[in-house]
Amino acid sequence: MTIATENTALNFECETGNYHTFCPISCVAWLYQKIEDSFFLVIGTKTCGYFLQNAMGVMIFAEPRYAMAELEEGDISAQLNDYNELKRLCEQIKRDRNPSVIVWIGTCTTEIIKMDLEGLAPKLEAEIGIPIVVARANGLDYAFTQGEDTVLAAMANRCPDKAPVSETEKGERNAIQKLLHFGKKKEDVAQEEAEYVDHPPLVLFGSLPDPVVTQLTLELKKQGIKVSGWLPAKRFTELPVLEEGYYVAGVNPFLSRTATTLMRRRKCKLIGAPFPIGPDGTRAWVEKICSVFGITPKGLDEREAQIWENLEDYVKLIRGKSVFFMGDNLLEISLARFLVRCGMTVPEIGIPYMDKRYQAAELALLEKTCQEMNVPLPRIVEKPDNYNQVQRIYELKPDLVITGMSHANPLEARGINTKWSVEFTFAQIHGFGNARDILELVTRPLRRNNNLKDLGWDKLVREEAKV
């Protein structure tokens, strides 16, 4: 690739916002699986339903705990009464599934016709006796993973605000504690409590698969840090207690609204750290949390070195190569930072939305990593324009493009290696133990194409007459 002029500070740009991404309502797909006693009701049109059914593929056949409240012409023109309609559907859901919470996902349509979901929910909640959480995860305002942010921000307001009175019960309250204490006697529990340093309660936020939750929790436990709860928990009924003064830390880069809600509404203190993606990120994340609690971290050097050693066979494949992020899921900064540490160069990081405050520590680490690895700083393009990006890709000829599915096949046909970006959202990529999974994804196209390289099948489109 051609190396651009040396940059000294991160360069932020903003384009037209004509880019491809998933609609934020897609968050129901992973959140309904995460929150086991929930039911997600997406209030929208056929377009929303069609997206969900196609994007979720096979999952749709597993009797999912989500459904569309499909708006019809009568709803749009207000010939039907929103409250009565929603009541009818929610009663049906209560009858058939009996969930502990119904999450209403507001869509573009409910925004435009100004359906007052936040106003209707408390009334209906009182009437049917099931909590109703409202999240406006629409394509007018948000992209893809930001959907989870809107849901978690709404849930943050539902977290209990008082720890239960007795100390023993406190331990019993949360799911991870229960998990860790499972089958142990009371003395053992007391013994375990002693393993923790005395620090103010810490609650982590961000939805992760349960194995990753356990891994990160144990990672902090090694430093004597106790995780008092996660937002979200496995069940809605197990949402963590949030008292004023609790510390909170995010595990994903797209959770800025949730962070804001936790700080402003719940008076929690946010630990601004890089995100635990890649061994470098995980280490920085643990270190930052330790430093806030005045703990000197133990054994992180060896732990990180060990992980890097195990990654060497994959790192070898990408060292010195370039990667271009078209941008669609907000994980881009963290992934780019990790890949720079692996020895890659990153000419461009496209990203739907850049919260420089929430991601401040991550951005600083990216800058530092680039300097340490002696590579040019990437340009960060907010609200990218896919058409322009494709022109830049033709020009830069990066070794790998991380992009959505609508561009992947056409780019491959033009001899450009691609990795489908959505996989990073669904794969387990957090913590020390999952760094290999990230590289497994990143190197896959390169490994595949190594196998094919002598066949002369690089470009599979006829030469275009275009300029």
Partner: protein
């Protein structure tokens, strides 16, 4: 409001985009919020397109909500016009933009002043038509636009082609086996000595549309897409059309006879009877298959059929008329075209089911317990859960229904493909049962055969053991009958005793 988990036909704009992106060098611009360009993913992934899907969005965001799109749509149209020089840009409204009620026609008119290509606003109402109806309308709209444009410029051809010729109307991107069907139809036309004047919309240039009147007749192979256009061309130019789907041996012959009649009326003087006979008896294997003992074994087996009108009707007729299979019910999700469907299949099945509710279909399958299902991907999954084999015959479909190998459903090769599909579905089912009878893989737990109804009954250990001894292909029925029996008598635990009591009660 309606509680929905699954839909058979997509929203209207999908139909418009399918037609627009089927044409060569036509670009569609959706007036839509971020994330609504999911069509590009589908086209790129399902049909493994090598080229960028010519669809972009003019994004509707918070600012548009507050101030209207203003210059944005116009700019996006003229920008695309300059970047890619398409012949035509189709501005496509979505459900979101249709409630904003912006004057999109005005944007189109303004953009047209600067754009070198043509600009059209797709005329479809999101809340009244679905994907299939919208596709039909958009194709009609585009054809009409270019016919009228040519007429104004006096560029319309005045005469028909010298030799008999045809327009094949309705082949489109993301259509079920459309490309293979198209190849097969072209081959059939060549065999019949008929020139193909045009195929639309797939692969066609809009500049060719003015030549449509040169054809002697139009062939509309799919019920869902192309009829409006064919009717329009008949109205304008008196071009007759043939809308008999050449799917299955009998229907293919019927289609060819109709073509013969249509072109002979225009002085062709052809006789295709010999051709039909030769193909039916010796080229297609389907007629011979019907006589073979394999097919004899299928006689009277129960099947159910569900899909779009075209495929569900054709498969129902093939199963019943050509293979002697008992079609218990046949159904379609094309509610808007229910009368046609009823008329087509009533004599070939016991019951006709018209619904868009997949739950209803699932229950109807569970109730009937057919030996095989022919349906969409949804029915395939129902089949999986009920242990009933399923052949996929219609959209909605997954990537495996875009095979790379040649698999038409139409014409004489189509009859071979369909025969394989049907036969393989049934034998697989039989093998499975034989395995179970001889204790093949009986470690599986019994699955409840109801789709939506949860069983509130408990099977005791010995009851279950007894149930497992019953051969697989009747086990479901026995289980259900026993549960019904237990429920009627208020028995909570089903033991072996109850099972046999139930058996006696139904006299089996």
């Amino acid at each position: 409001m309606k509680l929905a988990y699954w839909m058979y036909a997509g929203p209207a704009h999908i139909g418009t985009l399918r037609v627009a992106s089927s044409f060569k060098n036509v670009h569609a611009i959706m007036h839509a919020p971020l994330g609504d360009d999911y069509f590009n993913v589908m086209r790129s992934m399902l049909s493994r397109e090598r080229d960028f899907t010519p669809v972009t969005a003019s994004i509707v965001d918070r600012h548009v909500l507050a101030r209207g799109s203003q210059e944005k749509v116009v700019e996006n149209i003229t920008r695309k016009d300059a970047e890619e020089h398409p012949d035509l840009i189709v501005l496509t409204p979505t459900c979101t933009s249709s409630i904003l009620q912006e004057d999109l026609q005005n944007f189109v008119d303004r953009a047209q002043m600067d754009a070198k290509g043509d600009v059209l606003l797709a005329d479809v109402n999101h809340y009244r038509v679905n994907e299939l109806q919208a596709a039909d309308r958009t194709l009609h709209q585009i054809v009409k636009y270019y016919i009228e444009k040519a007429r104004k410029k006096d560029e319309l051809p005045t005469s028909k082609t010298e030799n008999p010729s045809v327009n094949i109307i309705g082949i489109s991107t993301l259509g079920f086996h459309n490309n293979h069907d198209c190849t097969e139809l072209k081959k059939l036309m060549a065999d019949l000595g008929i020139e193909v004047n045009a195929v639309i919309p797939e692969g066609a240039s809009v500049h060719e549309l003015k030549n449509l009147p040169k054809a002697w007749f139009n062939l509309v192979p799919y019920r869902e897409l192309g009829l409006l256009t064919a009717n329009y061309l008949q109205e304008q130019f008196g071009t007759p059309f043939v809308d008999i789907t050449p799917m299955g041996v009998v229907e293919t012959a019927r289609c060819i006879r109709k073509i013969q009649q249509v072109i002979n009326q225009q002085g062709a003087n052809v006789d295709y009877e010999e051709f039909i006979n030769e193909q039916t008896l010796y080229v297609s294997q389907a007629a011979w298959f019907s006589r073979s003992i394999d097919c004899q074994n299928l006689t009277g087996k129960k099947a159910v059929v569900f899909g779009d009108s075209t495929h569900a009707a054709a498969i129902t007729k093939i199963l019943s008329r050509e293979m002697g299979i008992k079609v218990v019910w046949a159904g379609t999700y094309c509610k808007y075209d229910a009368d046609w469907f009823r008329e087509q299949v009533s004599e070939y099945c016991d019951e006709v089911l018209i619904t868009e509710d997949h739950g209803e279909i699932g229950d109807a399958i569970a109730r009937v317990e057919p030996a095989a299902i022919f349906g969409t991907q949804m029915e395939r999954h129902v089949g999986k859960r009920l242990d009933i084999p399923c052949g996929v015959i219609a959209a909605p479909i997954h990537v495996q229904n875009f095979p790379i190998g040649y698999k038409p459903f139409m014409g004489y090769e189509g009859t071979n493909q369909i025969t394989d599909l049907i036969y393989n579905s049934f034998t697989l089912g039989m093998e499975d049962h034989l395995l179970e009878i001889f204790g093949g893989h009986d470690t599986k737990e019994v699955i409840t055969k109801g789709i939506s109804a949860e069983s509130d009954l408990h099977w005791t250990k010995d009851g279950l053991a007894e149930l497992n001894k019953i051969p697989g292909f009747v086990r479901g029925k026995v289980k259900r009958n026993t549960e019904k029996f237990a429920r009627e008598r208020g028995v909570k635990d089903i033991s072996a005793e109850v099972l046999y009591a139930a058996k006696e009660a139904v006299g089996a």
